[in-house]
Amino acid sequence: MPSISRDEVAHLARLARLAVSEDELDLFAGQLDVILQSVATVGDIATADIPPTSHAVPLTNVFREDVVRPGLGQQQALAGAPAAEDGRFRVPRILGEEA
């Protein structure tokens, strides 16, 4: 029995904002199933008594002085934008018609 179905892959793609094609869904469903079955072996040795490690360097709360530093100007910040208008990022509509 596969660990992930085609429908679940379609759901993942929606969550990840990837408009994948029907052909890709077929390909990815098979590949993700093989990968997930293989990586699931981590459960073999990950017993309850072992603490998790999220990072190799245990640094916490790195602070700096709260002073003003130079940053990107408006023109520089907008230079790589796909669309800009009146010194701002222009984006597609973010609200539905009824809103």
């Binding site: 190799a56 360097v57 700096r64 790589g80």
Partner: protein
């Protein structure tokens, strides 16, 4: 001239025997001559390189002090931002993007007078082991043009092997410096995590990504290491400690005496799946370490068998979060914005068009592993395995100074051979991943050519965190004992 080491070139430039402009032009000419066949570069910055070279020549002529590698050309992986010079990360998503700022590594190179020739090809977003995932086409291995140069930093290593540059920068998340080094017969170093700034390094997996030096000799790698390493307040994971004395260690090692050095052979990295010629080359290297005076023992690190599955949960999980920034709003491409579609629809269409298949696979694996209901079984378990791997390293380093293994289980495979089978591709990083998960230092140095196919083999040397100098000493001693390995035929 292009076959000289960086140290030799620097000495000649600084003594006035040659100019940096001459050295730089020689490498630009070489790129023009061979890069059509190799495709190591995505962008060559001829004007920028010659301008940087002229500046060094002026300093030398005026008798001003210059840094140890001033005037020497370098190939920079296209994952590090370069102000005013395109940075694509091997992806269509950032095609045409001109960064408004330099990465800290880039800034340090410029300040040291290192001449940046251009940006090198890579697997998209550094996800891959062959450079075949580049949106701009694969790089070819100079030792055999129908084979992969490793990945993700295949462009940087291929540039070294093809004598297009004497120095390069790579980044290593699961082996992306060391594995390309191994299969191209070059030296690649992943410094201790946190010792080279990640500021301006386009993020793949933030707790694993680490930039490092690539070169053809151990001393050249050490000289470059000392230029790029050091604390950076712009990276909150940067460690505020002195840079390990890697240049001094490389010079000491070159004297050829490893008496008193304890070397551990990792027993997990042999057997099924390892090419016999790779294992024979590795055994010969271990014998040479013994002959240099090192004490060699076998060391078992049982949890290393689980490093690959843990990595392919942790790295995609972090990637799925990091790559959420590519939303078609502030930079990068935008697809399907017809005035009718919503931001969310445009975002999905853009990410579909901008990302290649491997990036999509990893984003979806990460999204899955982090989702409610699966988190504990996948991401949570992988984090526990990470703890066990760090414990295995700690236990091993109580008894030995460095650990050794083959860098990668096989020599360079054919282009196209593994593209349809992601798990087969992932296995190229079997031996390199543990050091990313634990954060310790590791490097690959050529151990000669495999007797069955004549292709380069890499010896991996691993050292505890912040003890990077130990592996440089061992590598430099081994390099002298090994002798030259020959050069790539570009066929």
């Amino acid at each position: 001239m292009i076959r000289s080491s960086a140290a030799e070139l620097a000495q000649k430039i600084h003594s006035g025997e040659v100019t940096s402009v001459e050295v730089t032009q020689a490498h630009l000419d070489r790129i023009a001559e061979v890069d059509g066949a190799v495709h190591a570069f995505l962008h060559v910055d001829t004007e920028g390189a010659l301008a940087a070279a002229r500046k060094v020549d002026e300093d030398v002529a005026a008798g001003r002090p210059v840094s140890p590698l001033a005037g020497v050309p370098l190939a920079l992986k296209d994952v590090l931002t370069t102000k005013g010079v395109p940075t694509t990360v091997g992806s269509k998503m950032l095609e045409g993007w001109i960064p408004p700022y330099d990465a800290t590594v880039t800034r340090r190179l410029r300040e040291a007078g290192v001449v940046i020739l251009g940006k090198t090809n890579m697997d998209e977003f550094a996800m891959g082991s062959s450079t075949e995932n580049s949106a701009y086409g694969p790089t070819h291995n100079p030792w055999s043009l129908d084979r992969i140069p490793g990945g993700s930093g295949g462009g940087s290593s291929a540039a070294l092997a093809a004598f297009e540059a004497p120095l390069a920068i790579g980044t290593d998340t699961g082996g992306s410096i060391r594995q390309p080094g191994a299969v191209t017969g070059t030296v690649g170093v992943k410094p201790t995590y946190g010792t080279v700034s990640r500021y301006g390094l386009v993020a793949f997996s933030s707790s694993l990504d680490q930039a490092g030096p690539c070169a053809r000799t151990v001393l050249d790698a050490a000289l470059l290491h000392e230029i790029i390493a050091g604390h950076d307040p712009l990276d909150s994971t940067s460690i505020d400690v002195p840079v390990p004395p890697v240049v001094a260690a490389a010079r000491e090692g070159a004297l050829g005496d490893l008496t008193g050095v304890r070397v551990g052979v990792v027993t997990q990295f042999s057997g099924d799946g390892y090419q016999p010629g790779v294992l024979r080359s590795f055994e010969a290297a271990v014998s040479q370490l013994k002959a240099l005076g090192a004490e060699v023992v076998q060391v078992s690190c049982p949890s290393f068998d689980y490093a690959l599955p843990a990595y392919y949960l942790i790295a995609p999980s972090e990637a799925s979060s990091n790559l959420a920034r590519f939303d078609a709003m502030r930079y990068g491409i935008r697809v399907g914005d017809n005035g009718e579609r919503s931001a969310e629809e445009v975002m999905s269409l853009t990410r579909e068009a901008g990302f290649g298949p491997e990036v999509k696979r990893r984003i979806m694996i990460g999204t899955y592993a982090l989702s409610s209901g699966y988190y504990d079984a996948y991401y949570g378990s992988a984090q526990k395995v990470r703890t066990l791997i760090a414990r295995d390293f700690d236990a091993a380093f109580e008894n030995v100074d460095v650990l050794v293994s083959p860098t990668t289980p096989t020599t360079a495979f054919k282009i196209g051979e593994r593209t349809g089978d992601p798990m087969a591709m992932y296995k190229a990083d079997l031996c390199t991943i543990p050091s990313n998960l634990a954060g310790n230092a590791a490097m690959s140095i050529p151990s000669g050519l495999s007797d069955e196919d004549g292709l380069p083999v890499g010896l991996q040397i691993m050292a505890p965190a912040l003890q990077d100098h130990r592996m440089y000493r061992v590598a430099a001693a081994y390099e002298v004992a090994r002798g030259p390995i020959g050069e790539a035929a570009l066929r």
